[in-house]
């Protein structure tokens, strides 16, 4: 199953490498993935750390294990855009003693110009790993300011994509299913095997995997930027609009969060997402003290022809507690109970007893209140 895609266009393999002392260093000029230009203006939600400026550089490291002092960094990949292309620079420790020199070389590269790093899961893996290894070797390695794209894609894409693995998003969001790729979990094994056999050509798949990750990371930066910059238009996918809401919520931007949810609901979401969006929007409106909007929201939700019983119930609650209209509340609660039973009947099961009981209790309460309220019957 070898389908070399654009990720290997321009890929030169080990031929690209030259020796610099113990460290091997190679450069490739590869094709980009994703949007061909950044959005303008750059979205606020994808802000760089305070004071970060300079070249945007993707970083991805390959290691001999997941942790512990015996796991080493043996390869560091850096990538940045050059016109229509991506420049990938890879540092390789062809044997274990070269780890220290590799880190020294990396420090030298980073000291040449101002850099902003972008990583995929770098906050929990690549950067702490580099920091620990540099300290272990006594190498001064100041880390440039960094943005971890994973935290953004998790908010933005997880409702539609499920998985936020880089290769998965590369396929769904950059339209590029990765071809013959080495799974990351096999990297340590391949490296040790190359040491045992003294054969660096075995590392070719690792280097290509690393380069492909870098190209995808850079492509995703602009993809995410575009998706965040574009207005919350109901023509967009409802799950993506919900992702916009998650992003806005994390940024503490209630206004954008509300707009994203409204767009999500207008975009015709599937039932589970609809329920989720409704409850989140209701929560936002309550926090904002906008009772009227909440009323309108649930009224509309309850009047949808396929409204589930819990929407009717939510509407009944608002009628009862906020609108102080027990008569209408009773009617809606009764409709909710009828809907709950009808739903169960359609499925050939019994209604959920807890929910049924909750609705019955609400109805009883409303009945009592109405009885108290109505003028006493003449004796």
């Amino acid at each position: 199953m070898t389908t070399p895609g654009p990720d290997v266009l321009g890929w030169r393999g080990l031929d690209a490498f030259v020796r610099r002392g113990e460290v091997w260093e190679g450069e490739h000029l590869l094709a980009t993935l994703g949007p061909t230009a950044p959005p303008s203006p750059w979205p606020q939600a994808l802000a760089w750390p305070e004071g970060a400026e300079g070249e945007v550089m993707a970083l991805d490291v390959e290691t001999t294990g997941l942790g512990g002092a015996g796991s080493a960094v043996f390869q560091v990949g850096l990538a940045w855009r050059e016109g229509e292309r991506v420049r990938v620079r890879q540092l390789l420790a062809p044997d274990l003693p070269a780890e220290g020199p590799l880190l020294e070389r990396l420090a030298a590269l980073w000291s040449e110009r101002r850099i902003r790093l972008v990583t995929y899961n770098g906050e929990s893996f690549d950067l702490p790993f580099l920091r620990a290894r540099a300290r272990f070797h006594g190498v001064r390695l100041p880390l440039p300011p960094a943005m971890d794209l994973l935290s953004h894609t998790r908010r933005l894409y997880r409702d539609r994509d499920g998985s936020c693995r880089l290769t998965h998003l590369e396929a769904t969001r950059l339209g590029h299913p990765r071809g013959d790729d080495l799974p990351g979990s096999l990297v340590p094994q391949v490296y040790y095997e190359s040491l045992r056999r003294g054969d660096p050509t075995l590392l070719e798949p690792v280097l290509r995997h690393n380069a492909a990750d870098l190209v995808a990371t850079l492509g995703l930066v602009w993809r995410v930027a575009h998706d965040l910059a574009a207005p919350p238009d109901p023509s967009r996918h409802p799950a993506d609009l919900f992702g916009l809401y998650r992003t806005a919520l994390a940024a503490g931007d209630a206004h954008s969060a509300r707009r994203a949810l409204e767009a999500c609901l207008a975009a015709g979401p599937p039932p589970h997402l609809r329920r989720l969006a409704l409850s989140r929007l209701s929560r936002l409106l309550r926090a904002a003290g906008d009772a009227d909007a909440r009323h309108v929201l649930w009224q509309a939700a309850a009047h949808a022809p396929d409204a589930p019983p819990e929407h009717l119930e939510a509407w009944a609650k608002i009628l009862e507690h906020e609108r102080r209209d027990p008569l209408a509340a009773r009617a809606v609660a009764a409709a909710a109970l009828a809907r709950l039973r009808a739903e169960a009947r359609a499925l050939g099961t019994a209604p959920d007893p807890a929910r049924e009981q909750a609705l019955r209790r609400r109805l009883d309460r409303l009945e009592r209140r109405l009885a108290r309220r109505s003028p006493a019957a003449p004796a």
């Binding site: 001999t64 294990g65 942790g67 512990g68 002092a69 015996g70 044997d95 274990l96 003693p97 620990a132 290894r133 300290r135 272990f136 340590p188 094994q189 040790y192 040491l195 045992r196």
Partner: protein, 755 residues
């Protein structure tokens, strides 16, 4: 009834008195104190005074002074003597002077670490709110782990965590390693045998990392009173130590009663049952309202006593407690003891260390627990603050017990027992070299304190586990070496006992690997909670035994056949035709058959075969030869040699501070290797944990003690208490003759060698 009254009645009971070999009353002793050290930080002194500590016991003051002078210190004191303050004070004072200083405190169990945390936290708070202390073990929450890694000034943990979680992740503990000033080890004497050999390696790894980070911690330890603590500790630490022996703590009056069941048949040396005597005494104590703990040597005997006591005291008034019970069962028993709802518990030494069960009034120790230190620790379970307590040691017919009954003074004076340790067991060393290489590549001059390190590293590199590159050995395999290495017989090695019931299978308990062939072979009777289960199926590769509850009136005992081959001679000496040697051997074991023994009569009521594979044990052995056999038929010498082996292994266990089961013995009239009568004593742990070596070096003492035991035994012609049961009629005389020849020659050799 108060314990004093019960003791008074016992003292006037003639039938009981006949069986008392020794009864001493250790008088209450006042404290001996010293003022708080003058250099102590005023904040610390104030804090101590606020919790009632206005001065120190002499041993605390001495430990403090030695630690402050930069020595490694071991304090030998009994339990509950305030020993913790002796090591905590220098640590706290150092923190008062340098808030960057770090300390690791190691406890052999999680319970012991937890015990220290509260008061340490209070004392530390007196020095500043930014000083942190915490326990780092398997139960520690992730956020607390991060906090301790970043800023734990005092980290309380156990050797297992240090080995598997801290050392391999030292790059996350940089502040700790750069500033490590003290490593505290509590209950140092527990770090002997296999566990000790592992811990010695873990400490080597720790010191190696400290050198890398530029720190040089001192070791502060406490230990039960053992012989030759200085040599033991300095081997464990690879460094000279100073020992504090004088104890200044006060104590309440304690009665120590050594019981030897009466002779039934003086001629054959047969005594009444120790178990029955212990049970009678326990019933008497418990029924008089004395809260009592019964200590037994083995799991099997915990079960037998629990069964017998339940029958006499009634269900619910006594519980068994041992390793192999599920944690939930154990927690429930501990709680019932603490709140006083349970007044009697039968336990193995599982209850010795750190587990909080409150204090009981009396301890009944059935059979000498193997070490004097352990006996005192068990005795320490009885005795509420300042009140009268009692410990009864019931001697069994085992030669070791009888030896002690001959020499009750050993319990009080200078004990001849000395813990053995072998920090160079090659299997254990090999495991830890892997861990060490994972932590830090090996440079050529990095010897890890062992001469053979270069060869071993080379072997690991040839096996592809390490890689020699740029002059250093690097870890070069996937995985994480510490995960596969347990410092004790880890849970992965245990056999799980699963009960088959009509409601489906349920886990009943666990059995350690070495005991499995003899306890869990098919048809064996497995005892748990005083009930009998029969093993229906043993899945040896999967380490599972399936049992079913049965109502058996017997239990089973397995027999093993063994063979010994000498692989390499390491050291030998000759004197007067007698030889002594030390070397590597391989012992092969084959379980052969089991006997069925009736609970009531202890009669042999049947037998059956065992079908299990042969096991091989590469280990260290000491052996001794004689120039020629005794006159007469070879069987005479064979019987005498077997008698020597029986008594020698018992006294060796006493001198070397190990369990008799840690030692194996074998003997041959015409040994295939030496051609003459030969007696072997070997380590039961692969590679040896120093017992054979210590036996070789202390041969003259062992043979003298063995001879003494035989001569002191009142029997006519040999009994279980000296040369063992079922020997030729003159085995006792024969054994005495052989031992005399050995003893004389070895003493001469020792005098000549100046050793």
């Amino acid at each position: 009834m108060h314990l004093s009254q019960v003791l008074d009645r016992l003292a006037h009971d003639r039938a009981f008195g006949e069986q008392v070999a020794d009864w001493r009353v250790l008088p209450a002793e006042p404290a001996r104190r010293r003022p708080l050290p003058p250099d102590l930080d005023p904040r610390l002194a104030d804090r101590l005074r606020s919790r009632g500590v206005v001065d120190l016991y002499v041993h605390q003051a001495e430990a403090y002074a030695l630690a402050r002078a930069g020595h490694n210190v071991v304090t030998l004191t009994p339990t509950a003597s305030g020993k913790s303050l002796g090591y905590a004070l220098p640590v706290l004072q150092t923190l008062a002077e340098d808030p960057h200083a770090r300390t690791i405190m190691l406890f052999p169990t999680k319970a012991l670490a937890q015990d220290q945390l509260a008061w340490l936290r209070g004392d530390l708070a007196a020095l500043g709110s930014d000083l942190a202390v915490g326990t780092y073990d398997g139960d520690t929450a992730p956020a607390e782990r991060r906090r301790l890694r970043r800023a734990g000034h005092i980290v309380l943990t156990n050797p297992d965590m240090l080995h598997a979680a801290i050392l391999p992740h030292h790059t996350q503990w940089v502040h700790l390693f750069e500033n490590l000033r003290y490593v505290v080890l509590d209950e140092l004497h527990t770090y002997r045998g296999v566990f000790g050999a592992h811990v010695a390696q873990v400490l080597r790894r720790l010191r190696r990392l400290c050198r890398f980070y530029g720190s040089e911690p001192r070791f502060l330890a406490t230990s039960a009173t053992v012989g030759d603590a200085e040599a033991f500790a300095s081997r464990l630490f690879d460094a000279p130590v100073r020992v504090v022996r004088e104890n200044g703590a006060p104590r309440g009056e304690r009665h120590v009663v050594l019981l030897r069941p009466r002779l039934i048949d003086a001629h054959a040396g047969v005594r009444a049952s120790a178990s029955a005597l212990a049970d009678d005494l326990t019933v008497r104590l418990v029924e008089s309202g004395v809260a009592t703990i019964v200590f037994c040597r083995s799991r099997q005997s915990v079960e037998l006593h629990t069964r017998a006591l339940k029958a006499r005291l009634g269900e619910g008034r006594v519980e068994g407690y041992r390793g192999g019970y599920l944690p939930s069962e154990r927690r429930a028993i501990e709680a019932a003891l603490r709140d006083g709802s349970l007044r009697c518990v039968v336990s193995t030494n599982a209850l010795e260390l750190g587990i909080d069960i409150g204090a009981l009034d009396a301890a009944v120790v059935v059979g000498y627990p193997g070490t004097v230190a352990s006996l005192w620790q068990q005795a320490g379970r009885a005795g509420r603050r300042g009140e009268v307590s009692a410990v009864f040691l019931v001697a069994t017919p085992a030669p070791l017990d009888q030896y002690l009954a001959d020499h009750p003074a050993y319990l009080y004076g200078q004990s001849p027992e000395a813990p053995a340790i072998n920090p160079d067991n090659r299997y254990i060393l090999m495991d830890h070299l892997k861990c060490a290489a994972f932590e830090l590549p090996f440079a050529p001059d990095d010897r890890f304190s062992v001469a053979t390190t270069p060869e071993m590293l080379d072997a690991l590199a040839r096996a592809g586990i390490l890689r020699l590159a740029g002059g250093r050995y690097y870890w070069a395999t996937e995985g994480y070496p510490a995960h596969g290495i347990s410092l004790r017989s880890g849970p992965g090695e245990n056999f799980v006992v699963i009960e088959r019931t009509d409601a489906g299978p349920r886990v009943l308990g666990e059995v350690d690997r070495p005991s499995a062939p003899t306890l869990l072979h098919e048809q064996a009777i497995y005892l748990h909670g005083g009930r009998t289960y029969q093993v229906e199926e043993l899945d040896y590769p999967e380490r599972k035994a399936f049992v079913r509850a049965v109502d058996a009136d017997y239990y089973t005992e397995a027999e093993m056949a063994s063979r010994l081959d000498v692989l390499r001679l390491e050291e030998e000496l000759h004197a007067d035709g007698v030889g002594a040697a030390l070397g590597e051997v391989e012992v092969s074991f084959l379980p052969t058959m089991f006997k069925k023994i009736a609970f009531e009569t202890r009669d042999n009521v049947g037998w059956g075969p065992i079908h299990l594979p042969e096991e091989h044990l590469p280990t260290m052995a000491a052996w001794w030869t004689l120039p020629d056999p005794l006159p007469g038929p070879p069987a005479r010498t064979a019987s005498a040699l077997a008698g020597c082996a029986h008594v020698l292994s018992a006294v060796a266990a006493f001198f070397l501070m190990c369990d008799p089961r840690d030692l194996g013995v074998a003997s041959q009239v015409r040994d295939p290797r030496t051609g003459v009568p030969t007696l072997y004593l070997y380590d039961m742990t692969p590679g040896g944990v120093g017992l054979a070596e210590a036996a070789f070096r202390r041969g003259h003492e062992l043979f003298a003690a063995a001879l003494e035991r035989i001569r002191a035994c009142p029997c006519d012609a040999g009994c279980p208490s000296c040369v063992g049961p079922g020997r030729e009629s003159d085995a006792k005389d024969g054994a005495a003759e052989l031992l005399t020849r050995w003893e004389r020659a070895l003493s001469l050799a020792r005098a000549a060698g100046g050793r």
